[in-house]
C-alpha cells in the first residue's frame, strides 16, 4: 500500500477566513438551480442567479434602480432549492428597502404611509370602520342560527384579538362573515379593535423595517391594554 507523505503542514483550514454566516452570497456556485425553479426567470430580464451575482460583485445600484425587485414575489422557492442555502429573497427585500420611498411603485408605500398616519391602509376613520363591520354583523344576525350575533368591539379581557385584512373592509365585505360564523358557533370570546385594526403589514413588502415594527407594536399594545393573550392575524 502506498504511503501518503505529508509534504505541507495542515494550515489551510485555520488560515482561510470563515465566511460570515449572515451574508453568504459569496458561497454561490452559480449553478442556476434558483433560476430554473423560479416562474419569473426570463420575464423582463429577471433571473435570481444573476441577482445573486450582481450583489456579489457589488453592483447593488443596478438592482436597486431596476424594477426587478418589485417583480419578484419573494416566494422563497429559489432559496428552498439553493444547495448553498443563500437567502435570495432577503437580497430582494433589502434592495426594496434601499429604493427612495417616493419611487416605490404602486400602492405599497402609499399604503404604509396611510397606515402609519391613520391606523389602517385605507385611511378609514374609526367611526366609518365600526359602521361597516356593525352593518355586516347586523346582516349576519338575520341569518338562521346567528340571531344573537353581535360584533364585540374593543372588548377588554377577551380571549382572542381579531385583526382584519383591509380589502375585506373595503370592497369584499361578504368575506368578513366567515370567521365570525365560526367564532359564534365555537362560542369564542373574541374582539376587534376600533382603531389600528389593520391586519396586513405592507412594510414587509416595501422593505421598511421601522414601519413594520410600528404596525406590530400597535397590535402588541392592543393585547396589553385589552389584556388579551391570543391573536388571529389574517396574513
Amino acid at each position: 500500500m502506498e504511503t501518503i507523505t505529508k509534504r505541507y503542514p495542515s494550515v489551510i483550514k485555520e488560515q482561510a477566513p470563515l465566511r460570515p454566516i449572515n451574508s453568504p452570497v459569496d458561497l454561490c456556485m452559480a449553478c442556476g438551480t434558483c433560476a430554473a425553479g423560479c416562474p419569473l426567470t426570463g420575464t423582463k430580464g429577471f433571473d435570481p442567479r444573476k441577482i445573486v451575482r450582481l450583489v456579489l460583485m457589488g453592483r447593488d445600484s443596478e438592482l436597486i434602480d431596476s424594477k426587478l425587485p418589485w417583480l419578484c414575489t419573494m416566494c422563497g422557492k429559489c432559496e428552498h432549492a439553493c444547495p448553498m442555502g443563500i437567502n435570495i429573497a432577503n437580497l430582494i427585500r433589502a434592495a426594496r428597502g434601499m429604493v427612495e420611498r417616493e419611487k416605490v411603485p404602486g400602492m405599497i408605500h402609499k399604503g404604509v404611509e396611510l397606515g402609519l398616519k391613520t391606523g389602517n391602509n385605507l385611511g378609514l376613520p374609526a367611526e366609518d370602520f365600526v359602521f361597516i363591520i356593525e352593518d355586516v354583523g347586523a346582516e349576519l344576525a338575520e341569518t338562521p342560527g346567528f340571531s344573537d350575533f353581535k360584533i364585540p368591539v374593543d372588548k377588554k379581557g377577551a380571549n382572542l384579538l381579531h385583526t382584519l385584512h383591509n380589502k375585506l373592509v373595503n370592497t369584499q365585505n361578504e368575506d368578513l362573515v366567515h370567521w365570525w360564523k365560526i367564532f359564534h358557533l365555537a362560542q369564542e370570546d373574541w374582539t376587534i379593535p376600533s382603531q389600528n385594526w389593520e391586519g396586513v403589514n405592507w412594510g414587509l413588502f416595501s422593505g421598511d423595517d421601522d414601519a413594520m415594527k410600528t404596525f406590530i407594536g400597535r397590535i402588541v399594545e392592543h393585547m396589553e391594554q385589552l389584556n388579551i393573550s391570543s391573536l388571529m392575524y389574517p396574513e
Binding site: T73, P105, G106, A186
Partner: protein
C-alpha cells in the same frame, strides 16, 4: 389560524357536514405559511390544512408539486399592489397549469394574496368558472347549526 381551526374541530366546538361539498377541490400552499414559516419559525404549515380538508371534503387533491416545492401564485410580496400587471399574470401560468391538471372545480387557499391573484387571473387561463375559497370560508360554509 390553522391551529385555531384544528382546535375548534378536534375539541368539537364546531361540527362540520362533510357531505355538503361533493365536487373535486384542490389545495394550494401559500409561500408564507409553508416555506417562509418553516424558515422563520421552524414549522411549515403543511399538515394542518390537509387535516382540516380531510374533515371538510371527501374529494380534495394536492397540486403537484406541493409543500415546500409548491409554486407561488404570483400575487405575493406586494405584487398585487404594483403597476406590473402583465408580469404578474404571466407569473401565474405554472400555478394555473397545476390547477387545471387536477380537474378541480374549486381551489382552496388560506391566504388573501393567493385568493386575489388566482381569482384575477383564472379567466385569462381559460378557467372562468374556477371557484376560489378561503380555507376558513369552506369551514364556515359547512358548519352544522343546531
Amino acid at each position: 389560524m390553522f391551529d385555531l381551526l384544528v382546535d375548534y374541530i378536534r375539541s368539537g366546538r364546531i361540527r362540520l357536514d362533510k357531505t355538503k361539498i361533493t365536487h373535486r377541490v384542490a389545495y394550494h400552499d401559500p409561500c408564507n405559511y409553508g416555506r417562509k414559516s418553516q424558515e422563520l419559525f421552524g414549522h411549515g404549515y403543511y399538515e394542518e390544512p390537509r387535516w382540516i380538508l380531510d374533515q371538510c371534503i371527501s374529494d380534495w387533491v394536492d397540486l403537484f408539486p406541493a409543500g415546500g416545492n409548491q409554486y407561488c401564485c404570483g400575487g405575493g410580496g406586494g405584487t398585487l399592489l404594483t403597476p406590473y400587471r402583465d408580469e404578474r399574470i404571466h407569473y401565474a401560468r405554472r400555478k394555473m397549469e397545476q390547477i387545471k391538471r387536477t380537474g378541480a372545480k374549486m381551489l382552496v387557499v388560506p391566504c388573501h394574496s393567493c385568493h386575489g391573484q388566482i381569482k384575477a387571473v383564472a379567466e385569462t387561463y381559460g378557467m372562468p368558472d374556477l371557484r376560489v375559497k378561503y380555507l376558513w370560508e369552506v369551514v364556515a360554509d359547512i358548519l352544522i347549526i343546531d
